[in-house]
Amino acid sequence: MTNNVQLLMGNEAIGQGLIEAGCQVAAAYPGTPSTEILQAMIDRQDQAVEPLHIEWSLNEKIAFEVALAASYTGKRSVAVMKQVGLNVAADPFMRTAYIGTKGGMLTIVADDPGPHSSQNEQDTRLFCLQGRVPVLDPASPAEAKEMIEPAFELSEKYQMNIVVRPTTRICHSRQNVASGSPQPLERRAVFEKNPTRWAATPAFLPAMHRSLNRNLEQIAREPAWQPRLTSGDGSASRTALVASGIVYSYLADLLDELDLTGVFDLFQVLMPYPLSPDFSALMHARYDRVLILEETYPVIELQLAHPGACGKQSGDIPREGELTPDLVYQALARFIDLDDPPEVPAERRGQRPSLCPGCPHRAAFYSIKTCFPRGIFPSDIGCYTLGMNLGAVDTVHCMGACISQGAGFYQAYRQDGEDFPTIVVTIGDSTFFHAGIPALINAVIQQARIIVVILDNATTAMTGGQPVPHMGIAAGGKPTRAVAIEPLVTACGVDFLATCDPYDQPRFERLLRDADTHIRSADGGVAVLIARHGCVMDPVVRKGQSRVKIAILETCTGCGRCTGHFECPALSLRRETKKAIVDVDRCIGCGCCIPVCPVAAIVAQEVS
């Protein structure tokens, strides 16, 4: 084993751990904060001593099922996703608890307390309680890595899927982490047929459920996964501190800062579910008061059911949001009666995010809003959620929901009479492949008259540019068969299909109006417009497009259309002169703002 210490992000540490543990099949769908785990495996695949298949699957359900079957052959596998991705994978995930696995299988689910970049802050540990799946809760990037090999061993010992749950502050923290080298496991794929297990019908399931429950009882008593006790000095003998995940680290820092290390009995819970019954018994017998710190839901607290618990369920600790070191301080101060508990300063909001200067989505949204000022605009998950800033995004729900929501809006309005508002749905290319296709077919067969704009920027931009199926590139840049969007849309039964670069504003707006005519015509239905222009964060795209030097003429009236309605971050209104100015550092010279100005005060000086 080499002992090479590197600065690794939590996600990189986990990726490194997976390679060292001999994981041979890894599948994921990108999603903040989990994305870099698979990317780290791609970057390190040369370290693997045995064959390694890595894929960006179309969605989390697919990723899970690919990893699952690989485990059936005896090999080690992993599925990686963010917390809401587990909702998509819930169906196979729940059944796997009963059926089990063979080769070690881990599901790494990254939670996002806050949330910082998610549509909710659900707690995967609670999901695991409901699914009866053991879940591990690391407290640092280094610990997350250390957990991987023993987690595989646990999975193999009980033939069960095991969840490792890092949170944003682990995924996106860096730390000095020691790397080792992978040990060969020398496993060949052997699928032993056993239909009563792998294809179990209801008749077999009660027995499987019984053995699942037996396994859980044993796992809860596994010595390696018992809560870790740092004993106090006895001065506060009937009081204990319990924490899990990153919050344990905050607590450790705080005790150190307050010179209280080694005063209280302090427990770190490594496996919040199934919670050790011995630990529960001890807590009830030995302590009158217990402070419980965990993110995001009171999973340990609920299982412990301690009458002297101080936590989220008892109402002593905020039940929503990230449990920051400030809040941990406040909770501890109240719990142990420190004088003068510090006030947590109110959080102040900084600069709001917006689509990049020159982003093709901005041009598309501006045209949509211009053509249909009274339209209804369901949208979806991705950079383009920020179309909200332009008033061109009315709803955002979950991956792929926009098309079905658009259809639902239509059905509800249509019942009230012939006239219905123009409903323009916007969905990214990656989201379309993830969950948009069944929804599109459904909209077609239910005869919804809606316009679906597929924002095709040739990448999964929000999460840093993972490949999309129509580009013919797989994980790590490997060439593969491309699956084009147009024939898919046609095959879904869509009769109106057009493709346009949204930078070409006049043409794009003409097509939007044509689409509106189509949906309102006698035999109209769903109209699909593909707005195609690469993400300008991609240097290749930037290099490939012409660049104009923008100037604002004296005739600018300061109306704010280019800065407010169009909202390019490279444009701002100077307070003193009440005129627009261009930030030359941020402007990429796309020229999309030129047609926006009502008095033609935005001009191109030169083209290169």
Partner: protein, 166 residues
């Protein structure tokens, strides 16, 4: 040795790279280090914050009023992140205007060097010159060598030195 540092800016300004350079210095010196970073939606031009904890710490986040040093790439973030700094902590700020903290028009220096994103390293140079950060000039140059893409190493070093000598 313990030092708690925050780096504040907006997405696209190179906050993450600066965070990595500083953390790499700690790794190279064999000091434990923890950082936290902002990824996801906020990276699209929104306010981003990194924390760097050098020395014996367990968790990456910094409590209010505990940061020793703040590197501020985007001046408008000052009221947002000011509460993180200790009362005797130091701000090093990219700004053309006068005001609190050690200031320098790092963006202009970077622009003169050919690219505004270099302001992150200009600011690091200033922090080293002012003696308010745990790393030396050699430490930083070594880390930049390790982390910058080959063809940008010279430009990055030039930016760092411009801040150092300003």
């Amino acid at each position: 040795m313990k030092q708690q540092i925050i780096v504040s800016g907006i997405g696209g300004q190179g906050v993450l790279f600066l965070t990595r350079v500083i953390a790499q210095v700690a790794v190279n010196r064999g000091i434990p280090v923890l950082t936290s970073e902002t990824h996801g939606m906020a990276q699209r031009g929104g306010t981003v914050l990194s924390t760097i904890k050098v020395g014996d710490f367990a968790g990456p986040l910094i409590r209010s009023g505990q940061a020793d040093l703040g590197l501020l790439l985007w001046e408008a973030n000052l009221p947002v992140h000011d509460t993180l700094l200790r009362t005797d902590g130091t701000w090093v700020i990219n700004s053309a205007a006068s005001g609190k903290g050690r200031r320098m028009d790092a963006a202009q220096v970077a622009r003169n060097l050919g690219n505004t994103v270099l302001l992150n390293l200009v600011l690091l140079g200033l922090a080293v010159r002012e003696g308010v950060i745990f790393c030396s000039a050699e430490d930083c140059e070594q880390a930049i060598h390790m982390l910058a893409p080959e063809k940008f190493i010279e430009q990055n070093l030039a930016a760092f030195r411009a801040g150092l000598k300003a």
